[in-house]
């Protein structure tokens, strides 16, 4: 059991080692194939884990450091899926695709994420977060010759270091109050009345700073657009999906397990607690993210702001503080990862050929490459929350949880925001489907697609539709994940 609980991490580690070993032996022009290797390795890990390492009832291993449960497992599979797809996207990146370090760093970060999702101890948690972050700092600044990439890496690191320091401060205060670093012990130690609620909420806020940076909620979002724009596109995609989901995995577990008593404390006529803090943050995040997305002219920046907004929607599920709420967050992450990876994949594909991420680069795309345009349509409609795509179901369940928990105002705000979202997503589709390229010679300039892109995009597009139509199994898994916390 002990071993099974970290089987995915172990296999990924093995994969990383293999990549590292093989790298020097392959000629540079063949090193692109490391991407195939990584993706295949991720696939094998995925299958092996699903077949052999499925969790049962939650158990704790490695001295209560790691929790082996459905929540962690579900997220791990998501990360590995994301890593595999990202590896495919990396392969044909001009500057990154042929360097083995990139794949190794990707896998290292994935290991960190997996541990984040299953960490049951504050120490483990912090280590996992740093394991995740450090390789990503490097990846973001991977293109040394490119000023923007270096800036992205540096900015990401500065922000990351700063916020994780704040969070570490919060975690140490927590240890001081509760006298334990075990997540599952915290709840018992921190009973209302025994500890000052105000200081606990203050500590919670410090922790939110660190995690908020990872999931890029306002006001800890400032890094996101610049870093996304500067980093290699596949890395940006990975940052905005797997890395964000890892943050949510931690938030879900931490708040539900460690601070159930502080969700809503009666203060006068109101109930105030971390749900209140998070509700306000969610509201601000959605609104700011969406409004700032409106004036964008660069698709990567647009996706950055939209990913901020999506963090806001997903927070509604956490605010709901219920089993359905948790399940809805997990489901939201699933739909979001698949969808957003597809969106970034398209940015990568088009950017590679056209050399620009501005909206204008997408003029006449539907005539240059109808299939690609269709995938983009699917991804963007899913982001906008339209059926029959994953984004619709995800939003509905999150909203349903919100309504159930009587956060109707937050849900209404979320709805108004999603209307704004519809506006800017469709606005992009206008470039794709309506506007013509200069000279109207689209038929002569098709967008070349290499095999990894075709594979990845098809998988993702089908995934988006599957998540949106045959929802019962996915929702069942999300519910199982949520059930392991309640």
């Amino acid at each position: 059991m002990t071993f099974l609980s970290v089987l995915p991490e172990s296999l990924i580690l093995l994969l990383a080692v293999i990549v590292l070993v093989v790298d020097p032996f392959w000629k540079e022009e063949n090193r692109r194939n490391l991407g195939w290797l990584t993706a295949a390795g991720c696939l094998v890990t995925f299958i092996v884990s699903v077949v052999f390492a499925r969790p049962g009832d939650p158990i704790f291993t490695f001295g209560n450091m790691v929790s082996f449960d459905w929540l962690g497992f579900f997220f791990k599979m998501l990360f590995i899926f994301g890593a595999g797809i990202t590896a495919l996207f990396l392969m044909d990146h001009e500057k990154v695709g042929r360097r083995g370090e990139a794949y190794v760093l990707l896998l290292a970060s994935t290991i960190g994420m997996c541990l984040m999702a299953s960490a049951a101890d504050l120490v483990m948690l912090y280590l996992a977060i740093e394991t995740t972050s450090i390789p990503l700092y490097i990846l973001a600044g991977f293109m040394l010759a490119d000023d923007r990439s270096t800036e992205a890496g540096f900015k990401y690191m500065l922000y990351g270091a700063m916020t994780s320091a704040v969070m570490l401060y919060g975690l140490s205060l927590l240890f001081g109050m509760a006298d334990t670093t075990n997540l599952y012990g915290l709840a018992a130690a921190l009973k209302t009345g025994q500890v000052p609620a105000g200081s606990i909420l203050g500590i919670i806020f410090l922790i939110i700073v660190g995690l908020g940076f990872k999931v890029s909620i306002v006001p800890f979002h400032f890094w996101a657009p610049d870093v996304y724009e500067g980093s290699p596109t596949p890395v940006a995609g990975f940052l905005s999906t797997a890395s964000k989901a890892a943050g949510f995995a931690v938030i879900v577990r931490l708040f539900v397990i460690a601070f159930p008593d502080f969700a809503a404390l009666p203060v006068g006529a109101f109930n105030i607690g971390w749900t209140t803090i998070l509700a306000i943050l969610a509201a601000v995040t959605m609104t700011v993210g969406n409004l700032l997305a409106l004036p964008q002219k660069n698709l990567k920046r647009l996706l950055a702001y939209s990913s901020i907004a999506h963090a806001g929607y997903a927070m509604i599920g956490i605010v709901a503080f219920s089993q359905l709420g948790t399940a809805s967050v997990v489901f939201y992450m699933l739909a979001y990862i698949v969808t957003n990876l597809a969106a970034f994949g398209i940015v990568m594909t088009v950017g590679r050929v056209v050399g620009s991420d501005e909206y204008d680069a997408y003029r006449g795309l539907s005539r240059r490459s109808p299939g690609l345009a269709l995938v983009m349509l699917v991804a963007f409609l899913s982001l906008a929350g339209m059926p029959p795509f994953g984004g619709f179901i995800a939003k509905v369940v999150v909203f349903a949880a919100g309504v159930q928990a009587s956060f109707v105002w937050l849900v209404v705000l979320g709805i108004l925001n999603s209307v704004v979202g519809v506006y800017y997503y469709l606005n992009v589709m206008k470039y794709v489907y309506l506007y013509r390229m200069e000279g109207e010679q689209e038929a002569n300039c098709p967008i070349a697609l290499t095999r990894p892109y075709v594979l990845a995009l098809v998988v993702l597009a089908v995934g988006v539709v599957l998540v949106g139509t045959i929802i019962a199994p996915w929702f069942g898994l999300s519910s199982a994940a949520a059930a392991s916390l309640f």
Binding site: V396, Q404, V411, I415, S418, V419, L434, I471
Partner: protein, 504 residues
């Protein structure tokens, strides 16, 4: 195991749409043929459902199919039709069929009729939309209703923006999408609230509307949520003061999309407002019915007057839709037998009529390249079929006896008499105004002297166009002369609604 009529009807267009997307771009006619085949299949199935329902004197929900979809939340793919929705299924089938016919596109020296540019994508999006529409009419599950509702809304944006009228399409498409999306998601919040409260009341959490009908929502709850839910949907029904998107959208859309849009989509709003708003929240409906009636009456009269002063052929029809959908809302707001029956029939009648109108407008525009009424004239000579079709549509539109419009409008007014008679008197002004503007349009566009520039440049319509016009006219006259082929069916649906209204 009986034949799953409804799911085949619902999913055929979507499947056909995907198949069409897989066809190589050059083979336009293959794409069109597949589209036509799917449309024919759907109209045949819809017709058989309709005829079965009618001739076997069925009542209540029939052709029920239920498949688990998300049991954890009580969501199932639950299809079934009653007297209210069966005509609408048929309507959708008819509009889909005729829409494909007139979008076929045929190269002609002076005629750019139909869809020439990317017909593949056009039919695919149109059919996904059609699937959504069918789905809404057939769904007995609140969640699936929303699911299909949204599916019916978003292709509209693409259809308008890509193939629409170049001058306003971007603005109109976005306006339309945002209005409709906002309306529907606000209704969604209400639906979620209903879900939780119904589950709390009955003990089983389910989106099944048949269960939710028995949920005993407290009057207070109903009074709070009725207006958001009803208006959220009614936006798509073009209710005043949220009608603003509709004429712009109609005008900007390509012909087949206008047909779908005014013919079917607006019914979607009214239907969903009825099914979710009135049927699930009957107490709220009673409490707020005066608000609905007021808005509807304003829409009826105001729409007619605005239509009167338009000079753009298509805007006339666009605003006339606002006016006529106002009558549907007026019928719904009466909450009595006559009014609801009239609303049900009016949904069908208006759908057919306005589809015909837009089809004819499209044919004229494709040939004359202008829609300015003062610039047109004498079109009945080269295009007798569209002229006759438009005249029949006009007669329906002004509520002339012998046509479906009268059959629909008369009970609506009867129902209004039983509630607020003054509203009936005021709303009846629209009849005169409507008669005036449609007759003026008929005369100016189709009769009189044809301007020089059109002579020899305006050709006849294709055989497919004639088939489409003929089909639509036949339905309008048929119902007008023999109301028994539709009204009794609608009444069975109304009985159920009245039961909910009375029993709650």
């Amino acid at each position: 195991m009986t034949f799953p009529f409804l799911s085949v009807i619902v999913f055929t267009p979507a499947v056909a749409g995907m198949v069409i997307l897989l066809i190589p771009a050059g083979k336009k006619n293959v794409a069109r043929s597949i589209a036509l085949a799917a449309a024919v299949l759907d109209i045949v199935l819809a017709l058989s459902v309709y005829v079965t329902y009618l001739t076997q004197h069925l009542v209540g929900y029939q052709f029920i199919e239920q498949y688990n979809w998300l049991p954890a939340l009580g969501i199932s793919l639950h299809f079934g039709v009653d007297g209210m929705s069966t005509p609408l299924i048929l309507l959708t089938g008819v509009v889909m069929f005729t829409g494909v016919l007139i979008s076929w596109g045929e190269d002609h020296a002076h005629v750019q009729a139909g869809i020439q540019d990317r017909p593949r994508e056009f039919f695919a999006f149109l059919f996904i939309l059609a699937s959504g529409v069918f789905g809404v009419f057939a769904s007995l599950d609140l969640f699936m209703l929303f699911f299909f509702y949204e599916i019916a809304v978003f292709p509209m944006y693409l259809l308008i923006v890509i193939w629409g009228w170049i001058q306003t399409r971007e603005y109109a498409a976005m306006k339309l999408t945002l209005y409709l999306f906002l309306g529907s998601v606000i209704a969604l919040v209400g639906a979620l609230a209903m879900y939780w409260v119904a589950g709390h009341n009955t003990g089983t959490y389910t989106f099944d509307m048949l269960q939710m009908e028995k949920a005993n929502f407290s009057p207070q709850f109903q009074n709070i949520w009725f207006l958001p839910v009803f208006f959220g949907f009614a936006v798509l029904g073009g209710i005043w003061p949220f009608h603003n998107w509709s004429p712009d959208g109609h005008v900007a859309a390509p012909t087949a999309v206008s047909m779908f849009h005014a013919g079917v989509l607006m019914k979607l709003g009214a239907f969903a407002a009825l099914r979710v708003g009135i049927m699930l929240l009957p107490e709220g409906a009673k409490y707020w019915s005066w608000v609905i009636m007021l808005c509807a009456a304003v829409a009826v009269v105001y729409g007619a007057f605005i239509a009167f002063v338009q000079t753009d052929f298509k805007y006339v029809i666009g605003f006339s839709s606002v006016s006529h959908m106002g009558l549907v809302m007026l019928g719904l707001s009466t909450l009595n037998k006559a009014g609801l029956t009239g609303a049900g029939v009016q949904m069908f009648s208006h759908g057919i009529m306005t589809a015909l109108f837009f089809a004819v407008v499209g044919m004229v525009y494709d040939r004359a390249h202008t829609r300015q009424i003062p610039e047109l004239g004498g079109m009945s000579k080269p295009m007798p079929w569209p002229a006759i079709g438009f005249i029949i549509g006009s007669l329906v539109s002004m509520g002339m006896p012998g046509f479906s419009g009268f059959i629909a409008e008369f009970p609506i007014f009867l129902g209004v008499w039983q509630t607020h008679w003054l509203v009936a008197v005021i709303a009846s002004i629209s009849i005169i105004v409507t008669a005036a503007y449609v007759m003026l349009v008929v005369r100016r566009v189709f009769f009189g002297n044809m301007p020089e520039k059109f002579v020899d440049h305006v050709g006849p319509v294709t055989r497919l166009d004639k088939l489409a016009i003929g089909t639509l006219c036949l339905l309008m006259v048929g119902i007008g002369l023999f109301p028994a082929i539709m009204v009794p069916m609608v009444q069975t649906g109304v009985e159920h609604i009245l039961h909910l209204l009375g029993g709650a």
